[in-house]
């Protein structure tokens, strides 16, 4: 039984990985856009962005996924979008909102003096952000980002609610054959993957430990 179970779980894990990776690809930059919106000096934009972040962070990801998948059809009679598209849309927006707050915390923790030092040296705003501030921000947000990203690994299992055949669904399908161990096996996949991510983030932290501040 081991081989067929493994094959089945691997196909579920491929789906899990797809949701995980693509969500990161979309949400990491989108988070920066939302972050700038929530820090904007243009008050209406700032409040609009903060209100949006409140709604997304304040309601369940599962609910958001269901609404994105069924909503357009039920409310406007639009054809339904592919399940994976709805999943990625919901996950990317949801995680981007969390990331945006982590970014904001990081950016606002950089002392004003760093900006001023760049300004008196005639640097542009862009140069100051990319050459002075960004790396310091990355160093400061590594730990909270790793937290959030490891949570994402496990949140991907929510996607089954709109029919994504992810790994827990794959493991659960063996219950009707009277097997419980595939579920533990599923857990091992999660542990191995989050272990790998922990190692990678540890490596990044060590790489950035050459400076302080």
């Amino acid at each position: 039984m081991f081989i067929p179970v493994t094959m089945q779980l691997l196909s579920g894990f491929a789906e899990t990985l797809k949701v995980f990776c693509l969500t990161l690809v979309f949400s990491i930059p989108l988070g920066l856009v939302i972050c700038f919106g929530s820090m904007s000096r243009f008050t209406p934009l700032r409040w609009l962005t903060r209100g949006f972040v409140w709604i997304i962070r304040g309601s369940p990801l599962m609910l958001q996924m269901i609404i994105i998948f069924y909503g357009p059809g039920l409310m406007f009679g639009l054809p339904s979008m592919p399940r994976i598209t709805a999943t990625l849309l919901a996950f990317s927006i949801n995680y981007a909102c969390y990331f945006s707050e982590i970014y904001r915390g990081g950016i606002e923790s950089i002392p004003q003096g760093q900006y001023e030092a760049g300004q008196v040296l005639g640097m542009t705003k862009g140069q100051i952000f990319f050459k002075v501030v960004l790396l310091q921000v990355i160093k400061r947000i590594t730990a909270p980002m790793s937290n959030e990203i490891i949570t994402l690994v496990k949140d991907t299992s929510l996607a089954r609610i709109i029919g994504i055949y992810e790994i827990i669904w794959a493991g659960e399908s063996f219950i009707k054959e009277g097997l419980i161990w595939p579920l533990f096996y599923t857990g091992a996949f999660y542990l191995a993957f989050s272990g790998l991510l922990t190692l990678l983030f540890g490596k990044l932290e060590r790489k950035l430990s050459y400076f302080r501040g």
């Binding site: 002392p111 003096g113 008196v120 640097m123 002075v132 050459y210 400076f211």
Partner: protein, 246 residues
């Protein structure tokens, strides 16, 4: 020859007027020391000169040209006339001493990379840190960090080098090395404005001393005039307080 002229500079924050019409001028190669108690507007004056604050009224002229502050690009260009050394150094932590000095000239494409590097090394040598070029800020003492900051401020050859209480954040035993560097720059012919609480230093290095109080220049003159025979009773009271043993 007159290098800098400040005319009727005014700046307020909310309902508080911090600068209430400041006028002075400075010749090329002169050192101006600004003294005064905290809250007198010294730092705000320096920040206006470096365009970290925009003055509400008044003009700043360099070489007879009024510096305009309409566009972002104009402000950036204006800043290049001035260099600023901060009280808290504000070095960039992720860069070595040398990289801190060469970053801005590299960004502004001032010269070929090798020439910028050579100039950076020369500046660090000038402030006595040729053995620390590859050290990161956290590996340096406060005095060393401030000397790197001085080299960094000089890397763009500003016409007026400003110091905002450069030794206030330092342990007493580290102030000497920084003051010695500033003194050596005077010998090199640099025009400088130093906001300081170090009265002895102001007295011995400055060509002109300004005593600021409550947003105005209360007294201005040579060190002898201001320190030895101040005309204003406010200046006398301040100096008495500053020199008083406790």
């Amino acid at each position: 020859m007159e290098l800098l002229r400040v005319q009727n500079l005014k700046k307020g924050f909310g309902s508080t007027d911090v600068l209430k019409g400041v006028c002075f001028s400075l010749e090329r190669g002169q050192v101006l020391a600004i003294i005064g108690s905290s809250g007198s507007g010294k730092t705000t004056l320096l920040r206006c000169l470096n365009f970290l604050e925009t003055a509400d009224e008044g003009e700043i002229l360099v070489n007879g040209q009024v510096l305009r502050t309409v566009t972002e690009a104009q402000i950036r260009k204006n800043r290049l006339h001035f260099g600023l050394v901060f009280q808290n150094f504000n070095l960039f932590p992720q860069y070595t001493a040398l990289e801190n000095v060469t970053l801005a000239p590299t960004m502004l494409k001032r010269d070929a990379p090798e020439a910028i590097r050579a100039r950076g090394l020369a500046l660090l040598d000038k402030v006595g840190l040729s053995h620390k070029v590859n050290a990161y800020p956290y590996q340096l003492s406060g005095g060393q960090q401030q000397r790197v900051a001085i080299a960094r401020a000089m890397a763009l050859d500003p016409e007026v080098l400003c110091f905002d209480e450069p030794t206030s954040a330092l342990d007493p035993e580290l102030t000497g090395e920084v003051l010695r560097v500033i003194r050596s720059l005077k010998t090199g012919g640099n025009t400088m404005i130093v906001v300081t609480h170090e009265m002895e230093f102001a007295k011995s290095v400055a060509d002109v001393v300004i005593y600021m109080s409550d947003g105005v220049i209360e007294e201005m003159g040579t060190p002898e005039e201001v320190f030895d025979c101040p005309r204003s009773h406010k200046t006398r009271a301040f100096l008495r307080g500053a020199q008083e043993p406790f």
